[in-house]
Symmetry: C2
Subunit: 565 residues, 2 copies
Amino acid sequence: MPRARQLLISRESLKTSATRTVIQHVLSRLREIGIADIFGVPGDFAFPVNDAICLEPGMRWVGCCNELNATYAADGYARIKGVGAVCTTYGVGELSALAGIAGAYAEHLPLFHLVGMPNISVQAGRALMHHTLGNGEFDLFYRMTQPVVCSQAILTPQSVVFETERLIAEALYHRRPVYMAFPADMANQPVLGAQQAPSSPPRSDPASLAGAVDAILAALAPARTACVLPGILLARTGRRAAMQAVIDASNLPFATMFMDKSVLEEQQLAYVGMYDGALMNNDVRAFVENCDRVLTVGTLMSDFNTGAFTAQLEAKRVINISHHHTRVDGKSYANVELGDLLTALALRLPKRDWSRPAATAAEAPAGNGPDLITAAALYPRWANFLKPNDILIAETGTASMGLGFAKMPLGASFHNQTLWGSIGWATPASFGAAIAAPGRRVVLVTGEGAHQLTAQELCQFGRLGLRPVVFVLNNSGYLIERLLCKDPAIAYNDVAPWHYTELPRALGCDGWFTARVTTCGELDQALATAGEAGTGVYIEVVTDPYAASSLAMKLHDSMKTLYKS
Amino acid sequence: MPRARQLLISRESLKTSATRTVIQHVLSRLREIGIADIFGVPGDFAFPVNDAICLEPGMRWVGCCNELNATYAADGYARIKGVGAVCTTYGVGELSALAGIAGAYAEHLPLFHLVGMPNISVQAGRALMHHTLGNGEFDLFYRMTQPVVCSQAILTPQSVVFETERLIAEALYHRRPVYMAFPADMANQPVLGAQQAPSSPPRSDPASLAGAVDAILAALAPARTACVLPGILLARTGRRAAMQAVIDASNLPFATMFMDKSVLEEQQLAYVGMYDGALMNNDVRAFVENCDRVLTVGTLMSDFNTGAFTAQLEAKRVINISHHHTRVDGKSYANVELGDLLTALALRLPKRDWSRPAATAAEAPAGNGPDLITAAALYPRWANFLKPNDILIAETGTASMGLGFAKMPLGASFHNQTLWGSIGWATPASFGAAIAAPGRRVVLVTGEGAHQLTAQELCQFGRLGLRPVVFVLNNSGYLIERLLCKDPAIAYNDVAPWHYTELPRALGCDGWFTARVTTCGELDQALATAGEAGTGVYIEVVTDPYAASSLAMKLHDSMKTLYKS
């Protein structure tokens, strides 16, 4: 009987070996965790990987113009689907993707970076191949990527089964990118070795979890006032519903910081507004900072999340709930999983009549008809344009600083690369989001300076028949830089003057609605048409070079002080 | 007397300290070695560097759309001027440039990469700043760049004088990029410490040099046949004239390999043609490989330089002259500088009546009038279009493979990224070349797939009133990949269909001559107009998806054999 059983296992593993290659094994596992589209640029060392992606059932190759754009697209996709993947070739391709991989690391997005390498024999022979530095060294790029991924491996027939499980587990545990390299002569070889069950999701230490829950309950019980700062990691880890259940059960109010915007539904009574330190919304600041207890849940107290470090949260009031540990009253609870903790809190927190500040009404749009488009005219109009379930991709810069304070409609989500802050991200990220959510409307808002970094990726919307709404803010250069540098008019803040509305058609986005608007009346008309267009939409909004949102002006004022000192 | 002298030195160093900042010192030294234009994208951590570039006398900030493009532009500039520089901001900017820096390393171009960093105090405090990974680590990007630069430093008031001299010396010794980082709070501080004389150029070891010269003379004396393979390092090190003097003095014939094309004037009797192993020009191959002696001078026997390793140079016949050492008959001569050796050879090599193969006539263009544009129609027409002193930037792919076998007019130069081979390089590199040589005509030839990676940089030509001639080969995808992969029609070889001729205008290149040509007659007409246009020119050449140059077809044939086996 034992012998027969062993035979059965051997036969099974033999079958696996004979029927599945290294790359096929990886792709089927990525498919199982939710990746149906892989963004990339092909290349000769990556052909076996490129081929396999095109041939894998349920998977699609999504070609991009260049590797950085492909990585940003995968980033946008992962913001919607939870995971994403990008495929590049050796050296030239993978290095071009690095800034995007680093962005995914900073912003906690588990991207799988699939890289095609030269044959093992070529590497061993130190051959002088193209796409190398000509020095016979083949591990340099592997090493260069190490600081911006949470794990990496070169996959062979012997290692692919266990390495794939390890890398998936690492990517999901840390919500960070991983790097998977495929030597061209290995990718199509049959897998050697038996299948392996996927790693279980991490479990909490029961005693530590119970301790953390008790400590939080004990800390909140005597508090007269309290609030939650729900963070972006809730979205990244798929715990938004668990967090909402805590809000519903406890009646706790919440505010959000910039990077965390829209992680919970803003159309609810519990939402008190955006908290940005002393820079904006003084009523929200006063409320949050005077609460007896503040629960930060998966947030990061970075410069742009704290109003340039003007947030003043007294350490002893903060209950810090992180991805894998919790800290209350100076005591750390390790190995406490965010989801487990939230589930327990939803069950055990008493519902109370927590106080909250009155909600402030949204500002009405300024200006009319022939009036020029000021910030006060523009941002409220953009806010009003948004519809339920929209995906808003807001580029780093003055535009996102304005939109970050708009109240999102039901089900709509706001996305911004707040920590990494690499301009150019938004245009390809909006393409990736559109691929991830073909049933939702994608709205891209970008400044022209940022748009110019990656604008060619617009062509993919046209190629695939997708219909985004794109707003390009033409304010004659890099406005946020004008506001932050010494001499606003210095040459480096200028950009080349494009005829933006001619761009979609040049890039093959035929039949789109395009408009260039310079007055409030033209903007109103364009917004009305855009809302009903049924095609892709591209609107160039022309403003004064210094028409800046409030937050941008606040940052400008703090810089002025700096330069005077 | 000694005391007075010491005082004098102190006063001098004090004066230096008071009048020049860290960044000003670096810029003035870069200016002295020939850099008048710095390409880049500004960013807040780099403002002090950006400001100083704009204000430095004799120096110009050349803004680009993104950092990779800026680096490629600096690469193109350095191919003309010998040195180049690119400026980026911390993290997001510098990582986006890495693939271009690696390309400059592979292709032996001394680029100075100036990077703005956060303040030292911010770094020491491990602050959670934008453009970081949010983990308080600030040296990661510095470490990531290490494999693709020959040296690097973080510049402070104390270190800037000696570090600048060291980095300049390293960049020029290795002809490789270097990395110079400027913490924002250090860049504008006055230099501390006295001026330092620039390092002297490296000198040869006299005995080693004499030994190498004697050995070469001894090796050539009994040879009945010999030839030179002059390499790209002659251009990189400014030794083209010294090499030409050797050819003139000795009457030795020469052939060139792909990466080395046009390093010596092709319009001379000594030139026997392109040597590409067994793939092309069988007469040149037979001559070179049967010579009793072959002098390789600053070449690299890489895959694309050797007809995919089909070159069969018998090791014992090869005299290998490198940048800093020479090897003859199994003996190495270290510390022999290329320039010193060439100067000595020009003086001592006897003039002989060396045999050479008869030159082959250029092929006449095929096709006429309504005929479609085949490879036989296209490449000879492009060759005929070239004029003396043109700078031809040929993108990696089928287009450069065809143009590489055209004979260049007097003074015209051919540029290709043969070793690194990163598609997308050519469009921004042609912009950099145009900045470096405003008096010469720049001709860019690129495939559409490669063009799409970096096409937005065209806008800079328009912005600065430059007038390149751009040819975009529209063959419905990545042709070289169709020829090299298993299934030519597989989806990843397709690219988005752009309306190419509308692109220059959308990007602000107003008034350019644009044309889309599909027949030989249209092509002839467009070439005639382009030659006289007096404006920027952008011609989309439409061919069959499989219209490939001979070399590309040879590579295709060798792949077919591979996939059948």
